[in-house]
């Protein structure tokens, strides 16, 4: 087992979580919690793969997947923003809807052969850096590189630009934002849409880059839910989100790869000699999500920061309070 290769694959897996988590951060920073990430990811993955299969153009597939997930996210936006329904229930129902629609429309996609993937690149100079170059910059999907660019941009956008400030205002104190002429409803619709776009991109990252293909529900295998957990762990901060996503991606990858060699660091590998132990390994990412949530919630309550104050509350014009 080449540890460098495992880490490199882990970064690619983590990119899926990164896009999903960033999408969740954008949506939740505007005050709308979206539990439909898993479903939107599946819908994005299915659409991206399907469009790529019929057009042979993975870029078109990527765009279609993002747009499809963005579109379906608007169901949640309409129900929770305009109809003021409970965001938890609405997000859950979006999840069912998107999953169901993906399964129906994705029927038979798995039998299609020869679907192209998005290109992989090795960055000329950066890949020469010892170790780091081989992990981060060698033979990675173009989307992985996009992820490196996206998370600092997202952090800068949210914390240091005017529209980012509007976004935070809408999520913290919508009534005040409204009185300053910011359109609360439009802003929330917009960022739920952006959350959908990113969830769709996460899905396309799975089906067109990390593990190409369409495997019904197993395509995303709970990664959308892990992303929802990572949003809380990241305390709604894109930089922490990147950290968490790459760690988790590596963990998920490690679980797959650890059964291969019969020796690890010159110790006999228990997972090689008893492959059934792998079932416990497979629990690890999920158990870690729970542990991370415990840590995250504890820190968040202690510091009293992070969670947008108006998260989960519908904004009704003219009412007192948030």
């Amino acid at each position: 087992m080449d540890i460098i290769l495992v880490l490199a694959a882990g970064i690619a897996t983590g990119t899926v979580l990164l896009f999903g988590t960033l999408g969740g951060i954008f949506s939740e920073r505007s005050g709308v919690q979206n539990l439909g990430v898993e479903g939107m990811m599946l819908f994005g993955a299915m659409t991206a793969y399907s469009v790529t299969a019929s057009t042979k153009n993975p870029w078109l597939g990527l765009l279609a997947g993002m747009f499809a997930a963005g579109l379906i996210s608007q169901v949640h936006a309409f129900i929770s923003i305009t109809l003021q329904a409970d965001q938890v229930v609405s997000g859950l129902s979006l999840n069912f809807l998107a999953t169901g629609v993906s399964l129906v429309l994705g029927e038979g996609l798995n039998s299609i052969k020869g679907v192209p993937t998005l290109p992989f690149y090795t960055i000329p100079l950066l890949s020469q850096i010892p170790i780091i170059g081989r992990i981060f910059f060698t033979n990675q999907s173009v989307l992985v590189y996009f992820g490196y660019i996206l998370f600092p941009l997202a952090w800068y956008f949210i914390n240091h630009t005017r529209p980012g400030m509007h976004l935070r205002a809408v999520g913290e104190f919508p009534a005040a934002a409204d009185s300053q002429g910011i359109n609360v409803f439009f802003t929330r619709y917009l960022y739920v849409f952006i959350g959908g776009l990113l969830a769709g991109m996460a899905g396309a990252t799975i089906s067109l880059a990390v593990s190409p293909g369409w495997f019904a529900e197993k395509t995303s295998a709970g990664q959308g839910w892990i992303a929802v957990g990572l949003v809380i762990f990241a305390q709604w901060n894109p930089l922490r989100a990147a950290f968490g996503s790459y760690i988790f991606g590596t963990l998920r990858r490690l679980v797959l790869d650890i059964q291969g060699p019969n020796m690890i660091f010159s110790f006999p590998n228990p997972f090689f000699y008893n492959p059934y132990l792998a079932f416990f390994l497979k629990m690890l990412p999920y158990a870690f999500t729970v542990i991370v949530l415990i840590i995250g919630s504890h820190e968040a309550t202690r510091k009293r920061i992070g969670s947008p104050a108006a998260l989960g509350l519908p904004y009704i014009r003219g009412q007192r309070g948030l």
């Binding site: 169901v75 892990i226 003219g318």
Partner: protein, 376 residues
Amino acid sequence: MSDMEVNHQEKRRWKFPIHIEERVSEPPRWLSPLLSLLAVIFALLLGAALIAVKGGDPWRAYSHIAKSSFGSLGVFSDTLVKATPLILVGVACSLAFRMKIWNIGAEGQFFVGAFGASAVVLTPLLPLDAPRWQFIIAMALAGMTMGALWGLIPGLLKAKFGVNEIITTLMLNYIAVEWNNYFIYAIWSEGGFQMSRMFQKNAWLPRLTDYSKQFKIFSGLTTHMGLLFAIVVAVVVWFIIFKSKWGYEIRLIGDNPRAANYAGIGIGRNIVLVMMLSGAIAGLAGMSEIAGVVHRLQGAISPGYGFTGIIIAWLAELNPLAVIVVSILFGALILAGREIQPTGVPTMIQGVIMVCLIAARFFLRYQIIIGAREEE
């Protein structure tokens, strides 16, 4: 927050003679069930459109569902078999949702419940020739204990640390599946197959067909004792929610946690208790399925019962008795859905129903008034 602002009046002007107003008084009692019915009808129409887009014949699909689930006594009995676990998980979800505790983990609790019941037979905790009633009681207790444990973990985390229970219950679902897989593949595997041995007959729940000697009409009917469990549990939970002091506390916490706190109701304690009871009921569903239908532990024991239970609970408006009726309809959908192409149709219809249902709730708080506004 919006409930407290009843005396607020909207002052916006509308050009059209239709406008939407917040309701000042309680909506009429018939409105809520009517909205649910309309939501289901709308969802079925939407589902039909999607099936048609995919190239299927929606009306044949729907009439096929009706015929192959209510067409004769035999298939209706099969529908009841499918409805049995749904009633239990639906009741489990209703109980937790009453308190606005989002137990999305009924699926995992179902799996560990099945594991607990199987452990009684396969370990074995009872002698293999123990009488049937002992097996049934021990399996039910083991299933409920495992389910309660699976509910206790997220309950404690929520009560102690405020950890989001949606994600913890969901993560525990995945963990439960891997846990069962370990035992199916490694410990109880029979001859290298990914399933345990068949349980001996005295660990089976009695079925109607077992009494076909006394009652000819029961011949071939697979409805089992789990249905009785389910109905008893539904009635008991209905009683707890609507007629007991504890149920009053649960509903008060769900509607207004702040008021409940002022009234001296221990919210944390109730979260843990409700999650444990909810988990135990879902665990019983797993036991009933294992002992009544599958008769062995294997990987594929649930086509997503735990998730369907969430929708059933909402459609039944979190009323355990209504859950029974809704579960029978969903049992029909699942039973017939196995033969429908494409395979995702039942999941999709469930999703559409849920979305329409949530959207329709809007009209419980707002009313559409056609005609000119009186005050203007």
